[in-house]
Amino acid sequence: MAIIAFKAGKRPSLSAKRASNADDAALAKSKVSLFFGRLALVIVILITLFPIYWMFRTAFSNNRAMFSEPLSLLPVDFTFGPLQRVLGLATTEEALAEGGSGASINFGQYMLNSVLACTLITVLQVTFSSMAAYAFALLNWKGRDKVFAIFLIALMVPGIFTLLPNFILVKDLGLLNTILGIALPAMFMTPFAIFFLRQFFLGVNRSIIEAAVIDGANHWRIFSRIVVPLAWPQIITLGILQFIQYWNDYLWPFLVGQSETSKLLTVGLGIFKSQTPQGNPDWAGLMAGALVAAVPIFILMLVFGRKIVGSIQSSGVK
């Protein structure tokens, strides 16, 4: 019953949002402007997609053959060689034959590292930040707003500033070159995550909580059985956004994770690039590595595209 009350309370705001989306469809009337407008959009989409296509095109090209046909729009001498090369599935001879460097690289391992680190960070950060958001949004206690303000100040501190001392700390803890060391600074909370969830928790109908208290539920039960299920879509959205952010992060994992068992995909890519011979770079291998690192994001976008776009649009109106 309580859940129904909340949903009913929330519905108006949702439908109002939809209405405002629909009613301002100020679509152009004249055919000429329609044509040029659509044309401009098509050009933007082409510029957006072409570099991504070029990554695919190059990743499936024979690096040796590519030198003779730099303008070919299709993969040159189509091959899975570069992918096999970066995933450590090709022998040195096979790699050299297709213009690879022959150095051993294993993006499969880096993929595993990235999945482990990002899952660890995301799951813990979202859990702990939800708990904090509950305390900030739905509990009454002295000094609450002051403490929240202090947490938010951390948003203003540039990443590089805390990164130097955090590096020293992780080093002193002996956690360099471990997944835990990479995850540590972000896995307890981020001010953004708490801020994001607090917004949604504030919208939870307080009478439900009062009713649950009278029914004898404790706060952990209210949090886990009422608030979390109600805000589940937002929690998932936050999880996806944070996962993508840490998946793409570079500087921190580069400083902390240099070993084979802690190197993340972005770090592996950077190192691959810096080690590729200057005169004869393995572009196909590099793009294959980039592809391996980017494909999970493409899949997330295919599955959760609507959620991701929606979350970004709503952050603009706030």
Partner: protein, 314 residues
Amino acid sequence: MVVTALKEPAASLATRRTPRVKTGRRDSQTRAAILFLVPASIGFLAFFAWPTLRGLYLSFTDYNLLRDPTFIGLDNYLAIAGDPVFWNSLKVTLEYVVINVGVQTVAALALAVLMQRFTRSMVVRGVIMLPYLIANVIVALVWFWLADYNLGLINATLDTMGLGKIGFFGNEDLAMGTIALVNVWRHLGYTALLLFAGLQAIPRDVYEAAEVDGAGEWRVFRSVTLPLLRPVLAFVLVVTVVGSFQIFDTIAVTTGGGPVDATRAINYYIYQRAFERLDFGYASALAVILMILLAAIALVQNKLLRANESDLER
């Protein structure tokens, strides 16, 4: 399943409403709040608050990770004031910010208007924000390849057209602009979506009124859309300026600060001082300066934002 601590006040609440009950409930809430905040507080204190204080302290020391830091007062700051590499890094960072934010904001605004006028498609929105979801490192490498001097598609095309090749990343005058434009490509769709959301929030009848008055397209944009969009625009500017000041990844995997120091942006210089020269005290002082700079920018832009909000209410 029911915890006694909570059962008590609930039961007494039902029987007699006294102030004592109220404080009892508040205490239980305070206790719950403390427990709920334990993990987040550990993270906040250990990885935000403590490193901030430690970073401030280190900025007044000479510290190379191997020996204990020695207090040297303002020496780092004095050295920075006379450090031409620092001043150059500030200059090239500004160059980056101006090109990046300038081009990006204008293009994103145009794209947002285009989307509002010509499409409702979620797929289009998804496609244009796709680059933003791809790692900086990947985007940098893809464009580094596209713009490669010897084999890259762009130079191969220029070459066949007889226009002569361009060293996008290798030319001192072009490198920072190239990096700025690469990141325009990455952020354009994201910024456009933020502005698009702002456009959606402008009430339809304002446009209708302008139409009745016989205002042309450009005039409507300048006199209706732009002023009403200014709060969102100001928000977007704060976010993008502060973000682009901290450019690092793209530089790290493409130019490494070069050619000469044409792309040695402030964040990259801090990184080099700390991790290539193990000069953590000096690097911390640079980071303090960056933090003050960013806070000042955000403050100024925030004032702008507030002025705009009152503008909207008129």
